[in-house]
Amino acid sequence: MEINLLWGVFGIFVLLPLAGSILSYLGKKFAIYIGIIFALIPTIMLYPFYAQNISELINIGVNINLVFDTTTWFFMLMIDTVAFASFLFAISCVKKKPEGFASLMLLSLAGANGVLMSRDFLSLYIFWEMMSWSAYLLILRSSGEYARRYLLFGILSAYFIIMGIGIFYYYTGSFLFSDSAGIPLMGWFWILFFLVVGFAVKMAVVPLHVWAPYAYSSEPSFVSFFSGGLSKLGTFGILMGMYGIAGLSILQGFGTFRDVSLFGYPFALLGAFTAFIGTILAIFQDDLRKLLAYSSIGQLGYVMVGLGLGTPLAVSGALFHAFNHAFFKSLLFLGAGAVIYRTGKYKISEMGGLGYRMPFTFLFVLFAIFALAGIPITSGFISKWMLYEAAIEKKFVIIAPLMLIASVGAFLYSFRILYGVFLGQLDKPYENIKEAPLPMLVAMGILMLPLLIFSIFPGWILEWIDDIMKSTGVGTIDYNTYSYYSSIGGANMLVLWIAFMLVFIVAMLIFLMKKARKVDQYDNYLAGESPPYVQLHAAHNFYKPLRDTWAPLLKYSIDRAYEKLSRFFVEGFEEIKKIYTENPQDYAAYLGIAFLLFLFIGWWLL
């Protein structure tokens, strides 16, 4: 009976999308609709399967272990919902070969769900790679060069993972996570190092992030799934690697620094730098998609901090933030996608005032930005607050300030989006622009709901996280429906929410009592004069003073370093190519030398 249940779960979450992938490829014109159905079923089916704990060993030559527990459930909730919303969004924007889009999306969804269900390295690797190459093909639809960058880093990450798996296999002779007994500390170090670095590539941790800005510039409906959904697999992998397989006691065995494992600390530091660098770079982007991409890098840096620190508060915060990030970043990418779909432009400096024509899109993006910047009426606040507290609690004087600076930076680029895209003067070409089509709005609405709900009731999500924390043995935090508590405070969202609303209402009342008069923007700038049409929207060289301040540092680019490295290698390859001289006499000499060499080695060995 048990095994039937497992196969049922496996069928719904992995095989069904796989089948859907084939079906939608055959569906041609209706591909997207088929895709929606096959993405919706797993999303809905998550509800009956809540709090299940199914685990089965299956022998396919080697033992593999498929599991469906709260960890799986929690991550699936993000990924499947985001996938569904992305599909909805895609109805109106994917016109070019929709069957390819739908089938590849479902394939990567199946891969992602498979990764989440596997508790052994073989199936994990298989599904991971499936997800990787289908994402690669999806990016390929937009740009071959971007796809190539992504693929190289994707494979690099896979090879790191495979090194970790291999060392694990060397010590245990098994792929099961549960067979980890008897690995020496040195072995653990290399296993975890390779695994964490490998998964960190997917999370775009600096300096392995250079693929992300490009990959996130492809088709918006896919990117929202990619950045919101698939990058969470990196989080899942690191969580599994550090806490699921190894566990706290082994991590602490490497030595501790203020109760934080010396293994995790460098990664936390790296995460903080990622948050910082991602944010700084996001501020200076003019391409809307690139801005969001760097912002995504920065936000996932926070998650990395939490996972690296490894205190209960930090890990809970990381998971919570990952959850939030899945929704608000998908929402932002979708919003950006809607704007790009309507205007056909990518550059922020070429937009402006669109909020008057696309009010719903504006509203959704506004909420997403609240969540991203951590403003209390969205759930983005609480997760960030948990992470700050986790860093402050242990008095980390580098990590905490970096995170705070990054948070301020997040305001800067959020403002950039709000002002540059939605506020300000409506440019002439956009006079007659329409609101985004209905499916897009519905998709964005679906993604916004959880952000609002969980801002008042963080306890619901903390309950799931608590389950995960228990199963990984990190320890738990105190929480109730509205709040959580930590050694240096905590937060009560209900109080905050009420306070915020009070302030909001007061402000509203003041605003209304003052009998505000609507002033045309033109009048506002030009004091009532009416010259011929001028463009007043100041969007070029935004934050120029800031950029000037940072100029000396901005000239170092990790991108360029990689380019230099690759050029060095390619030149080297051309040199090595000369071994094949195309002269048969040389070749015959190689043969002779090889014979003598083989003979010598043989004589020596035998």
């Binding site: 190459w133 071959g144 690099l156 090194m163 798996i165 071994i579």
Partner: protein, 475 residues
């Protein structure tokens, strides 16, 4: 008593190869159907032989003289498996070969049948001198086919192959002569049981000679210099045959020499090093190529190096991986060479940079993608299991540094295939003629095999569980 004689796998192609000129006198049009039919018949027999060999090894005694007096064909599960792969690949490639236009067609078909027959013989035989004879058959058929285009490139490639191939087979002959002079027998198992009677020095020289000689055919590192030019100059179907048939036969013969005959276990790490060097140089030089067929040829070297590495690691898992890799490489590389043939035909150039958008036709694009992903070792295609098992086998033996080098080379492989995919799927190319049935049917067949056994590899692994007996000197 044996139900199906493995010798038929050799006799039937031979019979029809001799018959072809006579058929050619009456009608040249039926030739291609005769050839495809012959190989289809052969494939069916290979399947039957393989099924029987799974139960117990088949010893097909030739001429009625018991070994080692006479020659015996010995077909274990693995030999049967490789023979099946070779015949299957040959069948599918022969569909593509129907398109061949260049005269003299009779000779082309005869040579390709004999190449198949030679490869079959190399895999099936249980006699060392017989192995040499079939090595000669295979390589001389290859020389003829390599120059079949009759242009300068073809001649140059074939000439280099002739030079290196004949040096290689001379070494094989020397090795066999040394063994015979010491043991007075040519049967492989007889040699294996009585190996310790040999003088140690002679033993090593004999081993080295055989290793080197078959290494030339198996594309081992310093001996594979002929590969790129020969593959490049040969007709496309012939390149596919080389990659999927003669190279596989060569490496299986090498495996026989290493495991069945000599079983030098402390020599194996050297094989691993040669394997990883083969991978390393193959992949790196492939990156520096601009012509598609040369790139595929060097990539083929890389894949063969991977197989060699798996054999050298020598654990059950790694050798299973190596055999799986033989299967996957035979399928995927044949697919890619056929696709390359179409692309060169459609674009009239070998330069990859001028093949913009060639993969946009799904009949080409999807098999092409599947083939490349399989070569790169992506699940759920068959290329994954071979690579993964070889790696895991290597890890369990503790070859960390070698595997790191190997993975670095693999990353280079990913880079150049991604470069090619980028060009092939880029928009803005011109319109290309759509592929004929003789092109897309083999492509689709290969792609289907790659996907089916990638999704459900269990049957293959069941076959490969016989690796344990192979490693302990069994058939």
């Amino acid at each position: 008593m044996i139900a199906v004689h493995p010798v038929l796998l050799i006799a039937i192609p031979l019979f029809f190869a001799f018959l072809l000129p006579l058929i050619g006198l009456f009608s040249k049009k039926v030739l291609k159907y005769v050839v495809t039919g012959t190989i289809a018949l052969n494939t069916i027999i290979a399947l039957l032989v393989f099924r029987e060999a799974l139960n117990s090894p088949i010893f097909d005694i030739l001429g009625g003289f018991k070994p080692p007096l006479g020659i015996v064909l010995m077909v274990g599960p693995l030999g049967g498996f490789i023979a099946l792969i070779i015949n299957m690949a040959g069948l599918i490639i022969s569909i593509y070969g129907m398109e061949m236009k260049k005269e003299p067609l009779v000779k082309y078909y005869m040579l390709s049948l004999l190449l198949l027959m030679g490869a079959n013989g190399m895999v099936l035989t249980g006699d060392l001198f017989n192995l040499f004879v079939f090595l000669e058959v295979t390589s001389i058929a290859s020389y003829g086919l390599a120059a079949y285009n009759k242009d300068l490139k073809g001649f140059e490639g074939a000439l280099k192959y002739v030079i290196l191939g004949s040096i290689g087979s001379t070494f094989v002959l020397i090795g066999i002569a040394l063994i015979y002079s010491q043991l007075r027998t040519l049967n492989m198992l007889d040699i294996a049981t009585r190996l310790n009677e040999m003088d140690p020095y002679v033993k090593i020289v004999a081993f080295t000679s055989l290793f080197l000689g078959f290494g030339v055919e198996a594309e081992m590192f310093p001996l594979n210099t002929w590969v790129p030019e020969t593959y490049d100059g040969a007709p496309h179907s012939v390149s596919a045959m080389f990659a999927s048939m003669s190279a596989k036969a060569g490496i299986f013969a090498l495996a026989r020499v290493i495991f069945t005959i000599f079983a030098f276990t402390n020599y194996l790490w050297f094989v691993v090093i040669m394997g990883v060097l083969t991978v390393f140089f193959g992949e790196i030089i492939a990156y520096a190529q601009r012509d598609i067929k040369r790139m595929l040829a060097y990539s083929s070297i890389g894949q063969m190096g991977m197989i060699l590495m798996g054999l050298g690691i020598g654990t059950t898992m790694a050798v299973e991986g190596a055999f799986f890799q033989m299967f996957s490489h035979a399928m995927a590389k044949a697919l890619l060479f056929i696709a390359a043939g179409y692309m060169i035909y459609a674009t009239q150039t070998e330069k990859m940079s001028e093949m913009k958008g060639i993969g946009r036709n799904p009949l080409i694009g999807i098999p092409l993608l599947i083939g490349i992903l399989s070569i790169l070792g992506m699940p759920p295609f068959i290329g994954f299991y071979g690579k993964f098992y070889i790696l895991m086998g290597g890890f369990s033996e503790g070859y960390y540094a070698i595997i790191a080098l190997f993975l670095a080379a693999s990353l280079v492989e990913v880079a150049y295939y991604a470069r090619f995919i980028k060009i092939a799927f880029e928009g803005g190319g011109k319109r290309y003629p759509s592929p004929k049935a003789t092109v897309y049917i083999p492509l689709l067949l290969f792609a289907v095999i790659i996907v089916i056994f990638g999704v459900y590899p269990k049957p293959i692994f069941e076959i490969l569980s016989h690796v344990t007996t192979f490693l302990t000197g069994g058939v």
